[in-house]
Amino acid sequence: MSEADESAEDPAIPVEDAAVDRSTPLEVEGLRKTFGGIVAVDDVSFEVEKGTLTGLIGPNGAGKSTTFNLITGMHDPDDGAVRFNGEDITGLAPHEIANRGLARTFQIARELEEMTVLENMMLAPKGQVGESLWRSVTPGLRNDVRSQELDQLERVWEVLDFFEIDHLAEEYAGNLSGGQRKLLEMGRALLTDPDVLLLDEPFAGVNPSLEKRLLAHVHELREQGYTFLIVEHDMDLIMNNCERVIVMHQGRILKDGTPTEVKQSEDVIEAYLGGEV
């Protein structure tokens, strides 16, 4: 993308800060997954450090999204382990993983079309007492539900304001543009109060100005202490914004290092120039 130099001037570009806690909330070890004999992900291991922006790049079909799905429980790995905040979460159901504080967005934004933006947002928070059928329909208990929802609502509007989609609050999510959906999805993920956010191609199909906005949001959130793992196949974008880059190719990790290290790697250059981008 030609916006690379613009992003390079972004003030929020990672600044190494020695004081930051360097623990690793997300650890992946030896992940492997085959689909009908085809190896989609093969012996993938990496760690994501707290409060960082880590990029996962690779050409189409490199196994990035499958890796995401293995981490978030959408697929069960054939082998390997995923640890989150020290706990083995391999093979847990997606909702169990999400509830531990690992939120994700989808490659093709999957908004809940016939729900308003507000409903989408209100859905996200964890521990809603009103998710019990019993509480929702019992007159006395419904008041607890209401007061909790009122608290949630404040936070929802904060997030809507933060992502500047408050003017769309009453719209059906299905009526949003592609970029707006990405914002909605990220906001929704944020409302689950996660430790780590996994963003699957958050910038695909987003126009340049919105891309800049999204990036600014990501950097701002990172500074607030959120941890990001971002899948992208636009190399420049990742190189200019992440402090660490993991390159995947044909299901394997080709290179894992700083953007500078990755740029200089022979393997990466070959994979990207040799294969289709």
């Binding site: 929802e149 609502l153 609050a169």
Partner: protein, 454 residues
């Protein structure tokens, strides 16, 4: 200010719905009363007609509401509705029917418990079977779930018909409890005779209203309908009870829908993976939704059939399921108000309407008996006399109304798949979701609301 504004808006929404429902019902009833006038009905006739209409509006409204929870909210494609209805009413009957005396060999008795116990048992049984179906089947995709549920409802019907379950001998004591029942069962193809007090009587006795009610019937007898008015009054009052129950369904399902629980159901309907990724245990939600809906279908079945003299397996053919579906689609899946309206419109227009139309035409024109078969009707057309064909068509109206239903369903899917009130925003929350700190700025809040209702 803020609080009143909020209340006004809620009331406004409520009023719109109440107004809409009342308007539709008013139109339906006026048309039916006018038809009665044309037929020259006496007061008894009018009341019978009204009672009958109300009955079907009630049961279809209830069942459409229950199905809306499955399909409209959760996206569960259940086409086994009639199976759960059947389970409800059969279990109620077996629990409530009086025991037969020893030696009454051919007869099938029951446990002779109060009707209230029977109703609770029937609803619980429907819920239990719902759970049984749901546990394995809810992870299937929609069309497979459809096939499993309709197969289940047919298995239920085969069970009702089977000789194997026709009669059972009940042991004299179970776990030390002396049971009055001797021979119970599902009655096989002949069905069950419902020889227990009418549900209306049981209800009124429970509420200590039975004597006042008899007094009221006496009043009607001496002032309005001279000869045996009780069946008519029973019918009208039972219809009113049904409408009351519809109100309860509506209230329960609206609260279910307008809550965080309902929000998750909607999310499952839209995209289950997303709901999962947001930490919702979607299987549990689907299970609860399915079981609750099945329980309500069971109760619907009980209220439909338990007041009849008897129940037989052919009443529980899949046709009923599709009636409920058509009602829901007319009203608009996803909207509770729409579901009830769909039930009412279906009952008045498609279910009962054609018969009234036939009577109306027959009252207007004296057409005679008409031909007995399509061949004779066509033969007359061949000799340029369309009247016999017309009369044959009228006489076949009870079959043709199913053709009409089919055509209406096709038309709706082509032209208005969202029904009357589908796509409407019935926001799934217990609270108003507009910006909390903007409640003081009415203009702006109103502007945001502009798009709320199409």
């Amino acid at each position: 200010m803020s609080a009143t504004g909020l209340r006004d808006r809620v009331a406004d929404l409520g009023d719109r719905d109440v107004g809409l429902v009342l308007a539709v019902l008013a139109v339906i009833y006026v048309v039916y009363v006018l038809a009665g006038v044309v037929f020259g009905y006496s007061l008894r006739g009018q009341l019978n007609s009204i009672a009958n209409l109300t009955f079907y509006i009630g049961v279809f409204g209830m069942l459409a509401l229950a199905l809306n929870l499955h399909w409209g909210y959760t996206g569960l494609f259940n086409i086994g509705v009639v199976g759960f209805m059947g389970i409800g009413v059969y279990v109620t009957s077996v629990i409530t029917k009086p025991p037969v005396a020893q030696g009454g060999a051919a007869q099938v008795g029951g446990f002779g418990l109060p009707l209230a116990v029977g109703v609770v048992g029937g609803v619980l049984a429907a819920a239990l079977f719902g759970l049984l179906v749901a546990l394995p089947a809810l992870r299937l995709r929609a069309d497979y779930l459809a096939i499993v549920t309709i197969a289940f409802s047919e298995i239920v019907r085969f069970t009702m018909m089977s000789r194997t379950f026709q009669t059972f001998q009940v042991p004299d004591t179970v776990l030390g409890i002396d049971l009055a029942a001797d021979t119970v069962g599902l009655g096989g193809g002949g069905g069950l005779i419902l020889n227990y007090p009418s549900p209306l009587e049981a209800l009124l006795r429970t509420l200590f209203l039975w004597d006042p009610y008899l007094g009221f019937v006496g009043f009607v007898e001496s002032n309005l309908i001279a000869n045996n008015p009780k069946p008519v009054v029973d019918g009208v009052v039972y219809g009113l009870v049904l409408l009351l129950v519809v109100g309860l369904y509506y209230w329960l399902l609206t609260w279910t829908g307008k809550s965080p629980f309902g929000r998750v159901l909607k999310a499952i309907r839209e995209d289950e993976d997303v709901a999962n990724a947001l930490g919702k245990d979607t299987n549990r939600f689907k299970l609860k939704s399915f079981v609750l809906g099945c329980a309500l279908m069971g109760l619907g079945g009980i209220l439909w059939y338990a007041g009849r003299g008897s129940i037989t397996p052919p009443s529980f053919r899949p046709n009923i399921t599709f009636f409920v579906w058509i009602a829901l689609i007319i009203g608009g899946a996803g909207s509770n108000t729409g579901s009830f309206l769909g039930g009412a419109v279906f009952a008045a227009l498609l279910y009962e309407g054609p018969r009234y139309f036939k009577n109306l035409v027959e009252a207007a024109l004296d057409l005679g008996d008409g031909p007995g078969s399509f061949g004779q009707a066509m033969a007359a057309v061949g000799s340029l006399d369309p009247v016999p064909f017309f009369v044959y068509t009228l006489n076949s109206i009870s079959q043709l109304r199913l053709v009409i239903m089919g055509v209406v369903l096709i038309w709706l899917m082509h032209n208005r798949p969202e029904g009357m009130l589908g796509h409407r925003k019935e926001t799934a929350s217990t609270i108003d979701l507009s910006r909390p700190d903007r409640r003081d700025a009415p203009e702006e809040a109103a502007a945001t609301d502009g798009g709320e209702r199409p």
